[in-house]
Symmetry: C2
Subunit: 468 residues, 2 copies
């Protein structure tokens, strides 16, 4: 079914009466601001931005959109990297910015009921204030919304220890593409009464419906954390160090970044280089000091890796401020790369296949981009690597994209051979939908289409995303 690409004035009048006039914006600045995420490769063209404040307003919006054949694009903190929150074809953007309340904390269940527009860091801080911990964490914590995290099953830097967003959602209230309000799983730990629709919605990128409330599980805060940076001689050492550390220490993070990545961050932030020695590759390692013996075990593992020649140099943060700076060396990579209009890949393999993946990808990147700056980093502990190709200043953007897509063909072939994923944590959105078949089979994609039809028969929920 073709959707309307422009709103007529009666549509807008209906919208304004369904919400209130001040929560329907159509000015050019708002359309550009709310109509996109962090991707910069698309021409943005929404019809209006609306700001519901409660679930039944979202129900009314969906029913309105069905009746008028208008696409709806969900919008959270707009930190997505796959174009999932971009409105290109006259859709109405549903911003959850004003549904940003923390509704209820249940101390016995250790759950917190939130609206979808709660910022990740606000949830983390709320947990901390209640002697608890929300462990899903990543660089965009200050802007991203919990609703967007759920829509993409956000991962980040602590997955190795704490899993993904999926693992922390005890209940989910959603509005489907037919305007049904579903209250899924209600916070139960054990509930064997049919298909778990909650899990189907997590990671569905708004294609089945929109999250209007979530019941999030919290855990106990970790014991003090030790943060260190290690400098490595070569790529082969990465997994050797990982295996040594993870078998001897309670790791909470194990992050890799290349020399070019470090230099890009240091140039951008003016942070101090962490080590006296320049190395081709670096690791940021975080360990929880679960008991008195952890400190000695860290030093032992460090010395073992030095003696084996895998590690050339290393530094352990001596203060919380230094630990934060070490983390910034890894977490500011995206921001430091942004001025170079990077082309981003976000891929994963199983941990056991990381060495083969690193070796083969290194060869592809050297062959495919001999003249480009490649910023390489990732979460070794969960098999997820980010590859940012920086655009040479002199190069035309269209030429640059064409060149990057050419290299993708080689890269995605390797990933398919290794049974990996072409989108580890950014989602499919607009950016990866043409390549979905390199990770999912034809039969799976057909089933996905049919599942979408069940929840969204008119194709109004985030149209044109994920599926072609």
């Amino acid at each position: 079914m073709a959707l309307n690409m422009t709103l007529v004035s009666t549509h807008l009048d209906e919208l304004r009466s369904a919400l209130s006039a001040d929560r329907v914006l159509t000015d050019a600045t708002s359309l550009q601001h709310y109509g996109r995420d962090w991707t910069r490769h698309f021409e943005i063209r929404p019809s209006a931005i609306v700001f519901p404040v409660k679930a039944d307003e979202v129900v009314r919006l969906v029913k309105w959109a069905r009746k008028n054949k208008v696409g709806l694009v969900p919008s959270g903190g707009r930190t997505g990297l796959s174009g999932g929150a971009c409105a290109l074809n006259g859709e109405v953007v549903v911003s959850f910015e004003r549904m940003n309340r923390i509704l209820e904390f249940n101390e016995l269940d250790r759950t917190v009921r939130v609206q979808p527009g709660v910022v990740t860091e606000a949830l983390q801080n709320f947990a901390k204030a209640n002697d608890a911990y929300y462990p899903v964490d990543f660089a965009a914590r200050g802007s991203s919304h919990i609703g967007g995290n759920i829509a993409t099953n956000a991962g980040g830097v602590k997955v190795l220890r704490y899993g993904l967003t999926r693992d922390w959602i005890a209940g989910l209230t959603v509005v489907t593409g037919t305007g049904e309000l579903l209250d899924l799983n209600k916070g139960l730990i054990k509930n064997a009464t049919g298909f778990d629709l909650r899990h189907l919605f997590i990671g569905s990128e708004g294609a089945l419906g929109f999250v209007v409330e979530a019941l999030v599980r919290l855990t106990s805060p970790p014991k003090p954390l030790t943060v260190m940076v290690l400098g490595l001689s070569d790529l082969e050492s990465v997994m050797k160090v990982f295996n040594r550390f993870r078998t001897h220490l309670p790791l909470t993070a194990f992050e890799f970044f290349s020399d070019i990545a470090l230099r890009t961050v240091v140039d951008h932030t003016h942070l101090a280089k962490p080590l006296g020695t320049d190395c081709p590759n670096y690791l940021l390692v975080e360990v929880e000091n679960t008991d008195a013996s952890t400190e000695a075990a860290i030093l032992e593992s460090f010395e073992h890796c030095l003696e084996a020649g895998w590690v050339l140099d290393g530094a352990i943060a001596q203060s919380e401020a230094q630990a934060r700076d070490f983390w910034r060396l890894r977490e500011d990579i995206s921001e430091a790369s942004a001025p170079f209009t990077p082309y981003k890949n976000d891929v994963s393999v199983t941990v056991a296949k990381v060495p083969e993946f690193l070796e083969k990808t290194d060869a592809i990147l050297k062959k495919g981009y001999p003249d480009f700056k490649v910023v390489w980093f990732g979460h070794i502990g969960d098999g997820n690597m980010h590859i940012n190709i920086l655009k040479p200043e002199s190069m035309d953007r269209a030429d640059f994209l064409k060149r990057c897509k050419g290299v993708n063909a080689d890269l995605f072939r390797i990933i398919a051979e290794l049974g990996g994923s072409i989108s580890a944590e950014h989602g499919v959105g607009l950016v990866k939908k043409e390549d979905l078949s390199s990770t999912r089979s034809v039969a799976e994609i057909q089933i996905m289409r049919e599942l979408k039809s069940v929840f969204d028969p008119d194709g109004i929920m985030n149209p044109g995303k994920m599926l072609t």
Copy 2:
């Protein structure tokens, strides 16, 4: 679409040539043996039992069933308690008994690839032999299959600490009702490429398709465990003791059972009573000795609960043999109740609502069954209670069932009011399908029907289960 309720001889010939003749059984003993699970309230009437040995045989079976309009019932260890593996209407039972190989252990990923017919305990033992741990555990461990565990998202006694089967499935290969072989998620930790069909299949009771292979995640073995039995004065003390223990100790299990449950087990097994004092309620508590201070912390918590008057008596197992006996007091309840043809309820609420649930349910049971023996036990740590009503010897089975279903109406109303579930871990199957709407909304049930149609358009996969 109506399915055939009897197989004609040409159907059987085709089956025998699709597999081999010795893997198609039609004798009365086999039909009765393989055609049911642990429920005893149904009249069993399968047409044949088949034993595939590999995934592509299952594909061929499904295609054969589609062509001939024959229902297929998946069958694992047949320890189910909801009738999910019962064949009542001439279906062909697909036993996974001969697909029971452990295929591959990946030490780096700490995953093990298994066929669906691997017995839970065999997987646990395999993990142990490889210095790892498969933590999903329950009384039927010696017979249940991993395929059945996945189909029902099995929980059990360690959920408090380790979660459910869902949390340990890294990849899943299934055959849908159209005969498509889907290889879902491939063991990836991070994979944001569309709807997670793996999670939709977990807990779907064979209604969408059958599991033909699974990639199961393992973890590190726990440190030594301390097992104790506590005797409690009243139901209100249960949660008080739980809150004290869980805030001070690393719990791995926290199980409740009533005095009648204990006496039923002691009579059946001739195990020694655990305590000198007879108490109305008991707890089995298991704690991991994570460090040297745990033992002292256990004693402190125990004394705190004694002084508060919540605990009347207690005993800590002094040997592994005694710990096993303590566990049998809890785990043998089902077996000890079996001769009394119990009517089983398996319900859950959130942990915070357990006190209100216990109080209200106690009142309903006393009012509804003043003359019946009620064996009550459950997993306090995850909000799941089991209620077994024992049939008085003199009572007719039909009268007994009618009486139990009458009490269900009151019980299920309370559970709905508390936002709980009428099937915490046994699944829906045949036993709970008429009552599904007390946990799932009309809209959810309609969506479940439509999802089933996507995967199983002809309704041949475990027909008549879960959905009416």
